[in-house]
Symmetry: C2
Subunit: 396 residues, 2 copies
């Protein structure tokens, strides 16, 4: 029983962080009574639940308690990932792999490594809220660059910022950008690697989605063009496999392993060895490729259904990015439409999305929305976009 | 291929962190060719591996993909923990429970919440390195208080520090202190709660071990005496169940939930829903109490064997804390003995421990060592301490 309601004096740093609207909206994303284009989750039927269960059982039977103790890094997982990275033209060895609880943790660790309060980080103007929280959360001064809806992050603008500011870290999402759904061109990836080398500024390449490509050619990551050691690659099993595993990894210079390890330990010691071993078993058994192939097909069908519905119901008043992979498209409406204001009406009409403004660092993007296509049944998109269209047209 | 070996400009904050000797020594802790008194791990045979495997299978069969997605807080786990806290005289509801990846994450989150660079935190002078990293890692100025080997943290000294410094956070381990093995008296717990209220300083009560009491009466946590809202309780399933689950929790004021949630999200979004559901199932099935009872018996037998061995081989030259629970005893040797220097010789003799100095915030404690009794077979302690005694006596 409290005698008085206390007022807590919180840190200045904590005041930089604001609750993500996106995370708050996730509850709608899983409400079965709605057509939800709001989430960033794979469809339940696209998760390899039985195979993961099988792998967990194998690990617990084989390794017993060792899979439930604190544990040094699990070598088999490091080796598999290093080999997988080699196939993506990333020169590395198991010593360059650092296991995380997903890309957000990698972002958080590297932000703490490179950023002090008031130092400058470059991020994209419309970007995943986690990227904003990871950099702003350590008190960084955030400078933004625009993202072209056809070619990804504006590298020319990036160069100007690097010339004008003492930048300590840049963070980019080159593949199937969240929320924009666009990918950077191969040439621009090369240029980013060159800029990182020239300005000696670490670039954090956040790759959660590149394997989810269902059309076109898989592009090499920025890290594949790195000859300087300034490109830090972040990979995740959240979208390739399952978010609930909380498993990701970074490719980092071996010289930074001790420092990164101690930052990680200060945060939460280490990643569950059971999860590491389970995923290693999944990979070892060759389950990943067939799973991803199935996932790509599923995403392709869903994305096409969404594109068809958008063409049918919104082509006269809206434009959108045409995704070649990933989970999202970005829809731009007439300038007088405010997607924040429409949200409740859309909810009443039984359809939800994320207002584009939720991803904006500087405010704005009010006439945009992020639409997710990974979770809804293909035959549902037509009805969902029809409802959305009716709500939007009332506001025109 | 790197053209040059780059020099990275790391943050000032990152420079505060030093690699924990303790974590580096964990590799010895699991080397089967040694008698290891170094670790902080439960014995493999004391982990409920089969029951956890059963619960995981139940969850994955019952919940399917929902157990592998991103997910809102798992209500059943919050409810169980709130009820469990009530039984420990902590007034709280499910809304006061915040799930973490273990107590280190709770410490890290609350340090970020309450501490800015250069602000003052109070910790014990000899303490778990994670406590040091959590507070120093956010750039806090750390002021220490001594810990009495009979009564725990020196509360009189604590009050003096609170009078003299503008303290923003205190962190204490009241039960079966790591590394000292001592517990705070009930009266001192009450006084700490009063001091927190009087000085409006949050106290972080790190309770990883209280359930591992094998003799004497379980004492109420500091939080049980809290009428001010300034006591933050951190609980963990790492020692009660298994470290590899990476599951802990905090009891926090509801008013701070949004701020703590956003700090957590900036670090790594959320805790694995599969782990949350698996542990909830374990708890729901009533497996915890019988498991802890078995664990207590096991620890009791091991601790008694260690005490017997210490009496037999070292009573003429050493003193040590007599644990009533937990995993550790703290052994104090003659002042001219340096346990850092003896470490390699002990390793050669086939026995390892953690030099007490590894836990010291200000240096010192060179003639001490932390001995773990949770992992070694009871019949092994005699040989282990005999070897240790021989190594020590050579140095006298």
């Amino acid at each position: 029983m409290l005698t008085n309601r206390p007022t807590y004096q919180v840190s200045r740093r904590a005041s930089y962080l604001e609750r993500s609207v996106l995370r708050g909206l996730l509850k709608h994303a899983v409400d079965p009574s709605l057509i939800s284009l709001a989430g960033g989750l794979p469809a339940d039927e696209d998760l390899p639940t039985e195979q993961l269960n099988q792998c967990m059982n194998i690990v617990l039977k084989r390794d017993g308690a060792a899979a439930l103790q604190y544990s040094p890094a699990y070598a088999a997982l490091h080796e598999w990932i290093a080999d997988y990275m080699l196939r993506r033209n990333i020169a590395c060895s198991p010593e360059n792999i650092f296991i995380t609880n997903g890309n957000q943790q990698g972002l958080s660790i590297l932000s703490r490594l490179f950023l002090d309060e008031g130092k400058t980080a470059v991020i994209e103007e419309a970007v995943f809220t986690g990227t904003q929280q990871g950099t702003k959360g350590v008190g960084a001064n955030v400078v933004t660059i625009p993202t072209d809806l056809a070619h990804g992050a504006d590298v020319h603008h990036l160069e100007t910022v690097l010339e004008q500011h003492d930048v300590k870290l840049m963070a980019l999402i080159p593949d199937f950008h969240n929320p924009l759904g666009v990918s950077m061109t191969e040439n621009n990836r090369r240029r980013v690697a060159e800029l990182a080398a020239r300005y000696h500024v670490p670039v954090l390449e956040d790759d959660a989605y590149s394997q989810l490509r269902f059309t076109g050619r898989i592009l090499p990551p920025i890290r594949a063009f790195d000859t300087s050691g300034y490109v830090f690659y972040l990979g995740s099993f959240s979208k390739m496999l399952a978010p609930g595993l909380r498993l990701g990894f970074m490719v980092i210079p071996e010289s930074l392993q001790p420092k990164i390890t101690v930052i990680r330990e200060s945060i939460d010691l280490e990643t569950s060895t059971l999860m590491q071993r389970t995923v290693a078993e999944f990979l070892h058994r060759g389950y990943l490729e067939p799973h991803i192939e199935k996932l790509r097909q599923s995403l392709k069908i869903r994305a096409e259904a969404l594109m068809t519905a958008l063409d049918k119901h919104l082509s006269d008043i809206a434009t959108w990015t045409v995704p070649e992979g990933g989970l999202f498209t970005w829809c731009v409406l007439p300038e007088n439409v405010d997607t924040w204001q429409l949200f409740d009406e859309a909810l009443d009409a039984g359809v939800v999305y994320i207002p584009g403004g939720a991803f904006s660092v500087n405010g704005g993007h009010k006439n945009t929305m992020r639409l997710n296509f990974s979770r809804v049944a293909p035959e549902t998109f037509d009805e969902g976009i029809k409802r959305l269209s009716a709500v939007i047209r009332k506001a025109l």
